[in-house]
């Protein structure tokens, strides 16, 4: 296809057909490869015959251009595959009769056929990158890469407009343009191809921006294509967005397949800036011209790239207007846009699933986690806790975030499944630090739970805000020997114990020290801001815990003393205590002239609380007892009872209904 484009002189009507023919061929080749995978030789045989016919139809084009590379590839692969099957005597015996027959027929045919293409096949086989099961669309990409190179080299004498056309041809020739996409790639670009691809896309974008009268979209049918009439706006069939998405997927695959700890990885990472740039440009283009769906897809791509990291430069740039971290502001409108379309996993998400190899569920989890971490950084502990709760409460945070493989060692995992799983993983540079995640969760849980526990110490009905946190606490208590904390979890547990006493300094010391800094706090951007926020939170929550725990002992406390104890300024103390009083968490009054908090001492003492508990338990006992009665007395025993308790009523009518049920069953026979 490469040389054909360069042939100038008007529009070649064959060019339109050329694309179509090749599309037919690619589809057939796809089917053949599928059949090869499932070892269905009969299907292979059928498709091969169809392929031969289609190729014949495209013969005129082929005559002009030469055999397309992908075709050569399928021929070579098919022959190799058949030879393998033939050698495998064991497998042959196991194959059913049809397959075996088809195998021999196909082998003969292929042998005969390939003799015509001997030279091409041998030249193909020599190219090292040509091995491996690749899909047909890959070939086209490859071809397109080469043609791009070819194109760039050739000089175009016919002037600007022509170059536009030809460029568009190139665009159209991309299979992605044809509304394809979502084909599973296994093989990726070699690096030179990749770079050229990036460059060509850049150029295409330049062109599109420069010439606003070009319309390019998926919904433009072939018939309404307007390529020659310069007066009217030029409409081209194709989709720039899919092109960019495919490129993005390629990038992801490259990252997935590269060893994360090698230098290569770092090199590839540098390309990411360019990828982001391209995506940004596409998005701005789409915002003027594209449909809402396309805009959303563009947003999605951008979100996928930005949500997990913090760009220092961008942050400084946007510090002025936003005054907020870049990660927060873009994801909020972007995520809102995406969320609007894909909130509950309807078709739009299906579209997203098609576009990215990561499942929507993993994406959702990752965004939630990122939101949680951002919220924590801003000091919104409750939101942070809620966001992270679901992920942390299941033990499988690794899998839920797409950063680790499910250990399904009990079941058999064939190669296919492993490959699929691996493909669903997020590339390494996008991994979220799991320890950081857990630490953020535990610290926000601590800041929420300890005051709550202190406030509801005697309540029989205490709700646990976070089960994981309680679990950690209990594990910590069970230790026979309590040494100085080592791991991150032990630090948080020790800090919680200190906070329970209202001792904020010890708590602070446990949360922020060298070990924790190294593991967690330094990994935050703007670590110092986070730390000051944390200290402040610890002080405030310790104050509240202290008041809850010891309010029954005090008659009155001076606010100055409190502010001195917790190193908070007086207005803050005042506001916190006022909030507690308004929420009826603390029974006290504030005395303005003396700046003291006067306790009302209305809470029940320990003994009274116990008596209340006893009363509750006795209530339960009586209820249980009466249920026994209902059971025994049956029909009328419970029927005339209090109608409020549905259970009782059911129990009362139990015998009767039992009788009915029996009759029903008899009728059914």
């Amino acid at each position: 296809m490469g040389p054909d484009l360069v042939r100038g002189g008007g529009l070649d009507p064959l060019l339109t057909r050329c694309g179509r023919r090749f599309e037919e061929l690619t589809n057939l080749i796809k089917t053949i490869r599928n059949a090869m995978k499932i070892r269905d030789v009969t299907k292979c045989l059928e498709e091969f015959e169809l392929l031969g016919k289609a190729y014949g139809k495209a013969k005129s084009i082929v005559d002009k251009e030469g055999v397309p590379r992908f075709y050569v590839r399928i021929l070579a692969d098919l022959e190799q595959y058949l030879n393998e099957l033939w050698e495998d005597k064991e497998g042959k015996k196991k194959m059913n009769k049809n397959n075996a027959k088809a195998l021999s027929t196909l082998r003969q045919k292929i042998r005969k056929y390939n003799r015509d293409y001997e030279s091409q096949i041998s030249s193909y086989r020599q190219v090292p990158g040509g091995a491996g099961g690749s899909s047909s669309s890959e070939d086209d990409d490859d071809g397109e890469g080469m043609s791009a190179a070819a194109f760039l080299k050739k000089k175009e004498p016919s002037g600007d407009s022509r170059s536009k056309f030809l460029k568009k041809m190139e665009v159209r020739a991309l299979p992605g343009v044809r509304g394809g996409g979502g084909i599973a790639h296994v093989w990726q670009f070699p690096p030179e191809m990749w770079k050229k691809c990036l460059e060509s896309i850049d150029e295409l974008l330049d062109m599109l921006f420069a010439n606003p009268n070009i319309f390019i979209g998926e919904n433009i049918l072939e018939e309404s294509e307007n390529l020659s009439n310069f007066e009217q706006p030029l409409r081209v069939r194709g989709c720039i967005l899919t092109l960019v998405e495919r490129m993005d997927e390629e990038f992801t695959k490259i990252m997935q397949n590269t060893d994360p700890h090698s230098q290569e990885y770092v090199d590839h990472l540098k390309d990411e800036g360019r990828v982001c740039g391209i995506i940004g440009r596409v998005q701005s283009y789409l915002q003027e011209k594209g449909t809402t769906e396309e805009i959303c897809r563009g947003y999605l791509r951008r979100v996928l790239h930005t949500y997990y990291k913090f760009d220092y430069k961008a942050h400084q740039r946007e510090q002025g207007p936003a005054g907020d971290s870049k990660v927060l502001t873009p994801p909020t409108p972007l995520s809102a846009a995406v969320g609007r379309r894909g909130a509950v996993g309807g078709r739009p998400w299906g579209g997203a699933g098609r576009l990215s190899p990561l499942s929507p569920q993993i994406l959702y989890n990752r965004t939630m986690v990122q939101l949680g971490i951002c919220a924590f950084r801003q000091g919104m502990t409750k939101d942070a806790h809620n966001a992270l709760l679901d992920i942390q409460s299941s033990g499988r945070a690794k899998e839920l975030l797409g950063q680790g493989l499910l250990m399904r060692s009990l079941q058999e995992r064939n190669q296919e499944q492993e490959k699929i799983e691996k493909r669903r993983q997020v590339p390494f540079h996008m991994h979220i630090n799991l320890e950081l995640l857990e630490c953020v969760y535990l610290v926000s849980a601590m800041l929420l739970e300890i005051p709550y526990m202190a406030a509801h110490e005697f309540d029989a009905r205490r709700r646990m805000i976070s089960k994981q946190f309680h679990h950690q606490l209990r594990v910590g208590e069970r230790q026979p020997l309590l040494g100085p904390p080592e791991s991150m979890r032990e630090h948080v547990v020790a800090a919680s114990k200190a906070m329970k006493m209202g001792d904020w300094r010890t708590c602070h010391r446990f949360i922020i020290n060298e070990k924790m800094n190294g593991k967690v706090w330094d990994l935050f951007p703007e670590a110092d801001k986070v730390r000051t926020m944390l200290v402040r939170k610890i002080q405030e929550e310790s104050l509240r815990t202290y008041l809850f725990t010891y309010s029954s002992v005090y008659d009155s406390i001076s606010m100055e003393i409190l502010s001195d104890m917790f190193q908070l300024d007086l207005p803050t103390v005042h506001s916190i205590i006022s909030k507690m009083i308004i929420n009826e968490e603390l029974m006290a009054s504030l005395d303005q002239p003396t700046q003291t908090v006067v306790m009302h001492r209305t809470e029940p003492t320990a003994l009274q609380n116990m008596a209340l508990q006893l009363a509750e338990k006795l209530g339960n006992l009586v209820e249980n007892n009466e249920r026994v009665f209902d059971h025994k007395q049956g029909t009328y025993g419970g029927y005339f009872r209090d109608q409020k308790d549905g259970y009782r009523k059911n129990e009362g009518g139990y015998m009767r209904r039992g009788g009915y049920r029996q009759q029903e069953r008899q009728a059914n026979y």
């Binding site: 116990m610 338990k617 006992l621 249980n624 026994v628 059971h631 029996q662 069953r665």
Partner: protein
């Protein structure tokens, strides 16, 4: 600890057989003992034993020695059981008892077994272990009693020593070892009829009485402060806690019983259905001329669920009753004390 009792009782049966022969036969259905007469010595020994060895939750136990006279059980002496320590794993209780009794006989002290004593913690003595021990004692020696000494109540001002026996009804049930609901219903045993309390008289010999009078004159009577102490919330708190635990257990027990009932009725239904189906099938078969299916053993197909033993719930109920009694007494006394204190305060102001 209870298991010791059973072994020792068998050994001492022989020695007390002589005692029982001397006694008159009590009317059937009636308890053989109407009164317990305890020597001062026994009381003092019990208290001393507890003070020396019984701090904390541990219960201390010992053997009571004495004689039966008419319908009175006279306890004249006792000796404590040493605490079971790990080093003397081969500590033979029976041997120890025999030794003690032999030694006592040499010194001409009553050496006949008449019962045993135990200290208690806040009144929690209605346990399975106690029941078993007392049953084995009473089975061997009809007049046995168990003395329950409550040290904490004693520390609050009044000696708390109670003698308990198992009722004859309960004895019957225990003999059968059948604790299912039906058996208990037949025997008409409720938790009130489990233990009967026997009134206690503390008696001293005349000589001791004379000495006590002399001592009284010589030394000043110690002020009984503890009786007037107002601090009782701790005691109350602990009692409440124990009570709540029992109530919880009771709840669970009832739930268990409930599930059992539900299961049985469900099974009945299933059985019934199965029978119906079988009949239908047989009818069909008959109409077609085939031989009817054999009647299968229903009990094999539908194993009825086990009825839960009711003895535990009886014990729990008894225990709750005891707790309630204790708390009642305690709170009544304390209320009185609080009113007194209030009156005094008002008088002083």
């Amino acid at each position: 600890m209870a298991s010791r009792k059973e072994t020792t009782v068998a050994a001492s049966t022989g020695s007390s057989a002589a005692a029982s022969k001397a006694r008159s036969k009590a009317a059937p259905g009636d308890s053989a003992v109407k009164q317990v007469q305890i020597d001062g010595l026994v009381v003092l020994k019990i208290i001393k034993h507890y003070q020396e060895e019984g701090q904390g939750n541990e219960v201390v136990q010992g053997v009571l020695l004495g004689l039966v006279v008419d319908d009175r059980l006279e306890i004249t002496n006792c000796f404590p059981f040493p605490q079971h320590t790990e080093d003397d794993a081969d500590f033979d209780e029976v041997q120890y008892q025999m030794e003690m009794m032999r030694s006592l006989r040499h010194v001409n002290i009553d050496h006949l077994h008449v019962g045993w004593y135990q200290s208690t913690y806040y009144g929690s003595f209605v346990t399975r272990a106690l029941l078993d021990s007392q049953f084995s004692y009473q089975h061997a020696i009809e007049e046995s009693v168990v003395l329950i000494y409550d040290p904490i109540k004693t520390a609050q001002g009044s000696l708390s020593l109670k003698a308990y026996r198992l009722t004859p009804k309960l004895m019957e049930v225990c003999k059968e070892k059948d604790f299912s609901p039906e058996a208990l219903k037949k025997a008409n045993v409720a938790f009130e009829h489990m233990f009967e309390e026997v009134p206690i008289i503390i008696k001293n010999s005349y000589l001791i009485n004379v000495m006590l009078w002399e001592l009284e004159k010589k030394s000043a009577v110690a002020d009984k402060h503890e009786l007037l102490s107002l601090a009782g919330s701790n005691h109350l708190g602990k009692s409440l806690q124990l009570l709540m635990d029992r109530v919880d257990e009771m709840s669970q027990d009832i739930v268990k019983y409930n599930t059992y009932l539900r299961n049985t009725s469900k099974q009945q239904q299933q059985k019934h259905q199965y029978q119906q189906r079988r009949q239908q099938e047989n009818l069909q078969r008959q109409s077609r001329g085939e031989p009817p299916l054999p009647e299968e053993d229903m009990s094999k197909l539908f194993k009825p669920p086990q009825p839960p033993a009711r003895m535990d719930s009886l014990l729990i109920a008894g225990q709750i009753n005891t707790y309630c009694q204790n708390i009642k007494e305690f709170t009544a006394q304390n209320l009185g004390k609080l009113f007194m204190a209030q009156a005094l305060q008002e008088y002083n102001n």
